[in-house]
């Protein structure tokens, strides 16, 4: 019967539930988008930049998510760099089973058959690198430990290089020149896709011992030592061992801070965590405001309804309706109104999240708890907002009410 009332006055009903609608839409949309971003940032962003259960031993952070003062930059630059010897020393002292790789990188130009690919990230690494980065191979193979030991001029290229530089020709076995020296392509990494619109396939990997190391890893110095463990707990344990080893090697006193950096995907996430924390803190406030406004609107609509239907209430009372019958009738109407608003809000919120996902690189993942919350809030606002008008209706004197227009 309550739904019949709502359908009878569609426009008025719509305006009366707009507050609840907006509040619930906010709730669903923001939660979905934040959840989606969380999933994206953790699985895609952080793990792609650093790796799953992975930490990197570096001179200074490479992923900086907040503002850093000039002073701090300078202090970081003054730190000693990570040498081959440092890295070797540390990895020998990790007892937790791990996969490791030396790593350096810089931008170089690759040439093939008269064509040039400029500004390509050239990585110098070891065999373990492909495991750590979870790079599947779509053609050929990765290089072997022997090739690393020998400093062989072999190359594994990213999907974009295979596509653009070789243009349909099978790259395996072909010769790519880097800084004047030819390298043989032995493998192609499977397509990785985009991260925030930037291609992840514009790179090539060579053994860090190959000749071009003069350009990317001069003076036996590394950008980082990558270490991957089997689980988060094991990673933390390995990190502890690495830190102890480095501190010993650098002869740091107990009070002194590290003069190196251990970077994890959690660090990469810290900036996002701040933003999402702020969003999620602001959200209840926004939702609350909308719902309070919505509740007030519903209360006023119900007060008007009680006023307009005074005669009807008199009739019902004359026929035997008790106070609680009238009270529950109007509270149910009010709750139904609010619930319809919440349902529309849920639909709108889901729609909004879907639109965001379709049109921007940002993903959205619907959180069931937010939908349940929307329903609960819908009912609650309706019951609370309707309580006063309902009690006014229940307390009407039937004789006076029957005389109303």
């Amino acid at each position: 019967m309550a739904l019949r009332m709502i359908r009878a006055q569609k426009l008025k009903s719509f305006f009366s539930l707009i507050g609840v609608l907006i509040g619930v839409t906010f709730l669903i949309a923001v939660v979905s988008i934040v959840q989606g971003m969380n999933v994206y940032m953790e699985d895609e962003f952080a793990n792609r930049l650093v790796g799953l259960n992975t930490f990197q031993l570096r001179q200074r952070p490479s992923i900086v998510m907040e503002d850093v003062s000039d002073e701090t930059w300078r202090a970081w630059s003054r730190r000693p760099r990570i040498s081959y010897a440092d890295a070797q020393f540390v990895r020998e002292r990790i007892t937790v089973p791990v996969t490791t790789s030396f790593f350096c990188a810089d931008r170089m130009t690759l040439s093939y058959a008269g064509k040039q690919a400029k500004d390509i990230e050239l990585d110098g690494a070891e065999a373990g690198f492909f495991t750590i980065k979870n790079y599947n191979i779509s053609a050929g193979r990765v290089f072997t430990e022997q090739e690393v030991r020998a400093g062989a001029t072999v190359l594994v290229i990213g999907d974009l290089i295979a596509e653009k530089l070789f243009e349909g020709v099978d790259p395996l076995g072909k010769s790519v020149t880097i800084a004047g020296i030819p390298y043989r392509v032995v493998g192609v990494v499977a397509k990785q896709g985009n991260l925030f619109g930037i291609s992840l396939d514009k790179f090539a990997v060579m053994p860090f011992t190959a000749p071009a190391r003069r350009h990317i890893c001069p003076h036996n110095v590394l950008d980082e030592l990558q270490v991957q463990a089997a689980s988060h707990d094991q990673m933390v344990a390995a990190m502890g061992e690495a830190e102890a080893a480095m501190r010993g090697r650098r002869q740091l006193k107990p009070r002194e801070e590290n003069d190196f950096h251990l970077q994890t995907s959690e660090g990469a996430l810290s900036g996002w965590k701040k933003i999402s924390g702020i969003l999620m803190m602001a959200l209840p406030g926004l939702v609350a405001i909308s719902l309070v406004v919505g509740g007030i609107v519903i209360m006023n609509i119900m007060l008007m309804a009680v006023s307009e239907r005074t005669r009807e209430i008199g009739i019902r009372k004359a026929l035997g309706a008790r106070r609680r019958d009238i009270m529950s009738q109007f509270i149910v109407e009010s709750a139904t109104l609010s619930l319809v608003g919440a349902a529309l809000g849920i639909a709108a919120g889901l729609g909004l999240a879907w639109v965001v996902e379709a049109l921007t690189p940002m993903p959205a993942a619907v959180a069931p708890w937010s939908v349940a919350m929307g329903v609960i809030l819908g009912i609650s606002v309706g019951v609370i907002a309707g309580a006063y008008p309902a009690s006014r209706a229940a307390r009407l004197d039937p004789i006076t009410a029957l005389r109303a227009e």
């Binding site: 005669r311 009372k317 035997g320 008790r322």
Partner: protein, 233 residues
């Protein structure tokens, strides 16, 4: 010998209106037996509206007793009065007082809803009541799709659906033309013949003549209480 259905002793009712005290009922005593057909008449200001409200348990007196079907109802709480209204009183109003946005069937179901009946039984009883007043084929019509006479019949079906002790009608033909009025009075007559107790408040002597007993109120007291000349005792 029909037992007493209604016994009223020294009923008093006062209002304060605009700073003045109005004595609507100044000590009314009355007895009505089962299956009587009573008309209550009186000029404006005689207290007949107040009398009807008290009889219908819409209002409680300030003094006196009101025994209805063996129960003293003059001091009951609002909720208890609502119960009594639902069980014992069938109202028929001058302006019909049907819910405008509900069907005839739903209107007739209303007292049964407040009596707590299950949906299936409600429907069956309401349908039967509408058939008895000849509106079985108009169940799904809304009041604005019905004529005045049909609306009053729906109201009568609603009044009877819970099998009340008294049918209490307030100027039942006030909004109807003479032909339809005659129809409605015919219905009342039939109900009376079937055993229903009918109490009718009216200011029209022609309508009061259909009853077998006429009580005339003046200035809050009973002025006369006679059997109607035309009807059998």
């Amino acid at each position: 010998m029909n037992p007493e259905l209604i016994r009223i002793r020294d009923l008093e009712r006062r209002y304060v209106m605009g700073g003045e005290v109005i004595h609507a009922l100044r000590g009314v005593s009355l007895s009505i037996r089962r299956n009587e057909y009573v008309a209550i008449m009186g000029p404006s200001g005689s207290g007949k509206s107040t009398m009807m409200n008290v009889l219908g348990c819409l209002d409680t007196p300030d003094a006196g007793e009101y025994w209805l079907n063996g129960q003293e109802v003059s001091r009951l709480t609002d909720d208890a009065l609502a119960r009594v209204r639902n069980k014992e009183i069938g109202f028929v109003f001058q302006t019909f007082n049907l819910l405008p946005r509900a069907t005839a069937l739903h209107n007739v179901e209303l007292p049964l809803i407040y009596a707590g009946l299950a949906a299936r039984e409600r429907r069956d009883r309401a349908m039967a009541a509408l058939e008895r007043v000849g509106l079985g084929n108009r169940m799904d019509h809304r009041p604005n799709e019905l004529s005045g006479g049909q609306r009053q019949r729906v109201a009568i079906a609603r009044a009877l659906v819970n099998q009340p002790s008294i049918l209490l009608a307030d100027e039942p033909t006030g909004n109807l033309d003479s032909t339809t009025s005659a129809d409605i009075m015919q219905v009342f007559g039939e109900l009376h013949a079937l055993g229903q107790t009918v109490i009718m408040v009216t200011h029209e002597p022609d309508i009061a003549a259909f009853a077998e007993r006429v009580v005339v109120l003046r200035d809050g007291r009973v002025e006369s209480d006679r059997l109607s000349r035309d009807s059998a005792a």
